[in-house]
């Protein structure tokens, strides 16, 4: 009776996920094995042709760019997020919760809106150029939109709240008496940080890196809104194959390559991070 009840409760959820998550992913896998010709006829023979094309020189360049952007974004998020998390965890006092909510709040508002909000600041006649011109720091407006910089900025802005949170958790859970013990034993504050606080926060840094790198790698909104054709990422290629070129099998192959790249980079990172610990 109890087992029947449990199954009755969980079955709709399981069926829904199988139908609308797992099965669709398999249709992508299946679709990627067939090619289409100029008249959009689908081949009868399954092959890995799409994957050969997916790794063409032009596409490899885009993949390399995506990896570079995602890596730069991750580093930027850690550099901005770590001190912020440190500040909140160690000096936030009774405002800790409020300070943390302020970090996470933007994350819950529309990513699309937060991304295009930068155009007003970055454009040629935008706020940043206007301020810099007024201060006579520059003589002509800077080109900031449609560059590597603007796309990476958009990604960093989008994922910073994401990166800060796990670092905060790893700092908050630390036993404060360890730092006191270190300074009692003659460590300078900097030494205490490097030898005690930072190593203990590494798990937080690792998960922050992963949950920044992975979605950044698969993003297409930032490059779409703040970039140009020269700053395309894999996500933009996939979107084009599906909605502009109507080569869905090719788009599916690219999507699978993207997932493969994500899993590989995660595995490599975990391996390296594990090495450091040992």
């Amino acid at each position: 009776m109890k087992r029947f009840l449990a199954w009755a409760l969980v079955l709709p959820f399981v069926l829904y996920n199988l139908t609308f998550v797992l099965f669709p992913l398999f249709t992508v896998l299946y679709q990627s094995l067939f090619t289409i010709d100029a008249d959009y006829n689908v081949s009868h023979q399954a092959s890995l042709e799409n994957f050969r094309v997916a790794f063409s020189a032009a596409n490899l360049e885009v993949m390399w760019r995506s990896a570079r952007y995602a890596l730069t974004t991750t580093v930027a998020c850690l550099l901005l997020g770590y001190p912020l998390a440190y500040y909140i965890a160690f000096y936030g006092g009774r405002f800790r919760s409020q300070l943390l909510i302020l970090v996470v709040l933007p994350f819950w508002t529309s990513y699309l809106i937060r991304t295009f909000a930068w155009t007003t600041l970055l454009q040629k006649e935008g706020v940043i150029n206007a301020v810099l011109l007024k201060l006579h720091l520059i003589s002509a407006p800077l080109q900031m939109l449609n560059t590597d910089f603007s796309v990476i900025l958009g990604l960093t802005y989008g994922f910073l709240p994401f990166a800060t949170l796990p670092i905060y958790v790893s700092l908050e859970n630390q036993d404060r008496s360890l730092v006191e013990a270190a300074s009692d034993l003659g460590a300078t504050p900097l030494e205490a940080f490097w030898k005690v606080v930072f190593p203990l926060s590494l798990p937080g840094v690792i998960s922050a890196s992963l949950i920044t790198f992975v979605p950044a790698m698969g993003d297409f909104v930032s490059a779409e809104i703040l970039g140009s054709p020269e700053t395309q990422m894999i996500g933009n290629l996939i979107q084009q194959q599906f909605l502009a070129l109507f080569n869905w099998p090719m788009g599916s192959a690219l999507a699978l390559v993207l997932m493969l790249l994500m899993v590989t980079s995660m595995a490599v990172y975990m391996l390296l991070a594990g090495d450091r610990d040992a």
């Binding site: 829904y16 996920n17 901005l80 909140i88 508002t109």
Partner: protein
């Protein structure tokens, strides 16, 4: 009591800078929605006329209506499915429990764009025409896991087995659920539902791939307006959306005492 050391000045300044980085674009966006100029470059004076023109923009109002319809129905469906699953996963031992629990995390790990194209492919191959229904189905697919995880966390945090006590006192499982379990997990259900609503209301990527003609939601409408450049109207409708989301989150943070749970 340990004495609190004074905050180093550089750290305070650094944190302040990061907060400025987080909020400047949002503040500028809101400010320029009140700017008396078509161009988003210099401040020409205060006006609310862009908000007034929004109400006359029929396409935008339809998009708002679509967004609300999608979010309400997707939330309802994912809350019911998610709560049922959470109950089974945390209260009963059964074969395949681990696997069913892992399913909740699957959509969170697949990149959004891949979820989008996978659902698009699936709908077309199965012969379901893209419409507002496909958008709702897609939104349930990515939000039901969040509801399950949220309600499950709440269930795990409950102390003492009141259900057993109720059963000992002669209550039927049905009565026990409605009189004992349900009231205790209601905050968890509400918090999961609000989460699902926010996710659905703000979603752009997955909707972008699964919306049929006439199923344009607010983020899609904003996106197509952006193609013609950033105008004060876009700022105005975005400000309304931001305000709405922040209200939902404020409501949500009353239900969740631990701010860490705000991170997905």
């Amino acid at each position: 009591m340990r004495e609190q050391k004074p905050t180093p000045v550089w750290l305070r300044l650094y944190a302040l800078t990061v907060y400025l980085f987080l909020y400047t674009p949002i503040v500028v966006l809101v400010l320029f929605s009140f700017n008396d100029s078509r161009r988003n470059s210099s401040w020409e004076g205060f006006t609310t006329k862009w908000y007034a023109t929004l109400w006359q923009n029929e396409a935008l109002m339809r998009a708002l209506f679509n967004s609300l319809k999608v979010a309400c129905l997707a939330t309802l469906l994912s809350t019911v499915l998610g709560t049922m699953a959470a109950l089974a996963l945390s209260r009963y031992q059964f074969r395949g429990r681990e696997a069913a629990g892992a399913l909740a995390y699957l959509p969170m790990m697949v990149p959004e764009i891949v979820m989008g194209i996978a659902l698009l492919t699936f709908f077309i191959k199965v012969g379901i025409q893209l419409s507002i229904v496909t958008v709702i189905l897609a939104h349930v697919a990515f939000s039901v896991g969040y509801v399950t995880v949220t309600v499950r966390t709440r269930l795990a945090g409950l102390q003492g087995n009141l259900e057993e006590a109720a059963a000992d006192l002669g209550a039927t499982p049905w009565t026990t659920f409605w009189l004992v379990t349900f009231p205790r997990i209601l905050p968890g259900i509400m918090s999961g539902a609000l989460l699902a609503f926010t996710l659905s209301f703000d979603d752009f990527v997955i909707t972008f791939f699964t919306a049929g003609i006439g199923a344009t939601t607010l983020p899609l409408a904003i996106y197509s307006m952006l193609k013609f450049g950033v105008t004060p109207e876009v700022n105005a409708i975005s400000t309304i959306m931001l305000g709405f989301t922040i209200c939902l989150l404020a409501l949500w943070s009353r239900l969740e005492s631990d701010p860490k749970s705000l991170g997905r």
